[in-house]
Amino acid sequence: MRELTYLEAVREAMSQEMRQNEDVFILGEDIGVYGGAFGVTRGMIEEFGPERIRNTPISEAAISGTAVGAALTGMRPILELQFSDFITIAMDNMVNQAAKIRYMYGGKGKVPMVLRTPAGSGTGAAAQHSQSLEAWMTHIPGLKVVQPSTAYDAKGLLKAAIDDDNPVIFYEHKLCYKTKSDVPEESYSIPLGKADVKREGKDATIVATAIMVHRSLEAAAELEKEGISVEVIDPRTLVPLDTETIIESVKKTSRLVVVHEAVKRGGFGGEIASVIAESEAFDYLDAPIKRLGGKAVPIPYNPELEKAAIPGVDDIINAVKETVNRL
């Protein structure tokens, strides 16, 4: 099969949807000839024109709200936010409007929109351009939250997000953009709410998201050399969360390590850990659940500090060992 980068997969999903459905369009800053801050929409204005690839002013509040209004009246907008850190400016429209409209109006209205945005550190962009704030959105009833880790998943999940009749926040990880995987040419959909077991194992379960999926797979490969067999689960969507797949895995392995790049304190790892601790899997646990997440600091600029602020492969290896070695 053909290989695509994650970035290309995102673009292809959008292009295919736009070819099929006139109601789908993109709006965002510098998404036209510039191709977006990360080049995701490059070439699209040439195919679809400026009416459907709409370059906006630097006005995150307006563009998110415009997407809500357009969605509410029959369009299916995709909003590109240049960095996920800027959701601070789009928060009201996403949280107080998009998420609530359907319920608040007694079911009479729908807001089919996708907010796509790159998250994460590793590019030296420092404190205001490197955050992983997905936990915020998971806390809001009415928002679906998607966080693909591979090109294949990105394409299929983005189609599902665009097809969804409700607002979806779609987090792309900057360091994933250049990663590649086999991606079918035809359009396909990966249902929201279905985790993927990225590697099977029996001694411990790792639940990891975004770039941490890759680090966890590296860690698992290392651990295998030492005879420790690790199962790596990528939930792919945080809301809805496929608790079943995670519970079944933990029942099998009896150990759980949760890994995300977002700051550990108040991060979604707490939710995953607690869901398991509350579930039938609790009785199968042979060791405390371990959570790995970012340290409680703004992401620093210096590259060594930047790396040290979030979990690395070694941290994951150590965490699994601690869990496995626990008697």
């Binding site: 369009f25 006005s59 509040a61 307006a62 319920y103 109006y105 409700n166």
Partner: protein, 327 residues
């Protein structure tokens, strides 16, 4: 048929009795709600538009049915003018399943998306971008509808005002921003909260027309808004129309009104927009005193009827709690 009054093209003299009735429906509806709140019969809070009837009715009078509006926390008048049934409105305030939002939204969220009322909004300034987005739908789908975005003097100091109107101006979207300048926010006097006399002057920042009308004179409102709506429908882009008016009651349920004088209130009561309309209609011979009385009585009766309707409507059950939510 020659007309005695200077009316915009979409309004005929024969429509005036209906508009007059709407004004009374609003007045009676608000007074009834006020009474219920005072008696503690309704939950929550509410913001009444008594004294501001002409800006709602006059603005919406010039619309076609397919046109849309976004409303505010002070939205009952807009709803009625856009054709909402007082039954469903009152039922909503009573929290019943027959309410516009099945009892889940309350006063601040009444919406009727199908009929083009995109909703009241509890967020001051929350409607600017939603209206802009709806206008974008109209433009992209070539649906030809125009959107009226109601907002207050206070809301004009929110960043969303600036971002959304700028966006609407560069894309020449068919939206008219209608400021109901009732002189105060919750308590903040408009003249202290901005350094210019008129919100309409701010149109200058966006290269669009800005016009002040007498918000207590329905004819002035209709002509001012009518022109802006025509412009929008012709693809010439947005305008700001500022209707100077006054709210007779306190900001919301509990308001000692220390921030203004009783004299000022009295002055504005003399400018009662309903009385003014009645006078003109009678003087111009478009309505007899008796007809006017009858209309008023009918309006009152309908509002009274809505109380029976609401009071006899079913309460939601706990099963309804998790309905209409999808994530």
């Amino acid at each position: 048929m020659t007309q005695k009054l200077n009316l915009p093209p979409r309004v005929a003299e024969k429509d005036l009795a209906d508009l007059y009735k709407q004004m009374w429906q609003i007045r009676f509806f608000e007074e009834k709600v006020d009474e219920f709140f005072a008696k503690g019969m309704i939950h929550g809070t509410t913001h009444l538009a008594v004294g501001q009837e002409a800006s709602a009715v006059g603005s919406i009078a010039v619309l076609e049915d397919r046109d849309k509006i976004t409303s505010t926390h002070r939205g009952h008048g807009h709803c009625i003018a856009k054709g909402a049934e007082v039954n469903g409105m009152m039922a909503e305030l009573f929290g019943r399943t027959t309410g516009y939002c099945k009892g889940k939204g309350g006063s601040m969220h009444i919406a009727d998306v199908e009929k083009g009322n995109l909703g009241a909004n509890g967020i001051v300034g929350g409607g600017f971008a939603i209206a802009t987005g709806a206008a974008l739908t109209s433009q992209m789908k070539k649906e030809g509808f125009v959107v009226l975005c109601f907002f207050g003097d206070g809301a004009s100091n929110e960043g969303s005002f600036h971002e959304a109107i700028n966006l609407a101006s560069i894309w020449k979207l068919p939206v008219v921003f209608i400021c109901e300048n009732n002189q105060y926010g919750m308590s903040g006097p408009a003249k202290e909260m901005m350094n210019v006399g008129n919100v309409a002057q701010r149109a200058e920042s966006y290269g669009i027309p800005g016009k002040v009308v007498d918000g207590n004179d329905i004819f002035d409102v209709m002509n001012g808004v009518g022109e802006a709506v025509d412009r929008a429908r012709n693809g010439e882009g947005p305008s700001i129309v500022e209707a100077k008016t006054y709210r007779w009651k306190g900001h919301s349920k509990s308001d000692a009104k220390k921030y203004r004088t009783r004299e000022e209130e009295k002055e504005w009561r003399l400018k009662d927009p309903i009385e003014r309309m009645r006078l003109i209609l009678v003087v111009e011979g478009l309505l007899t005193e008796e007809e006017a009385e009858k209309i008023k009585a009918d309006a009152k009766e309908e509002v009274e009827g809505s109380v029976d309707f609401a009071a006899n409507s079913p309460h939601p059950t706990l099963d309804d709690l998790m309905e209409d939510i999808y994530a």
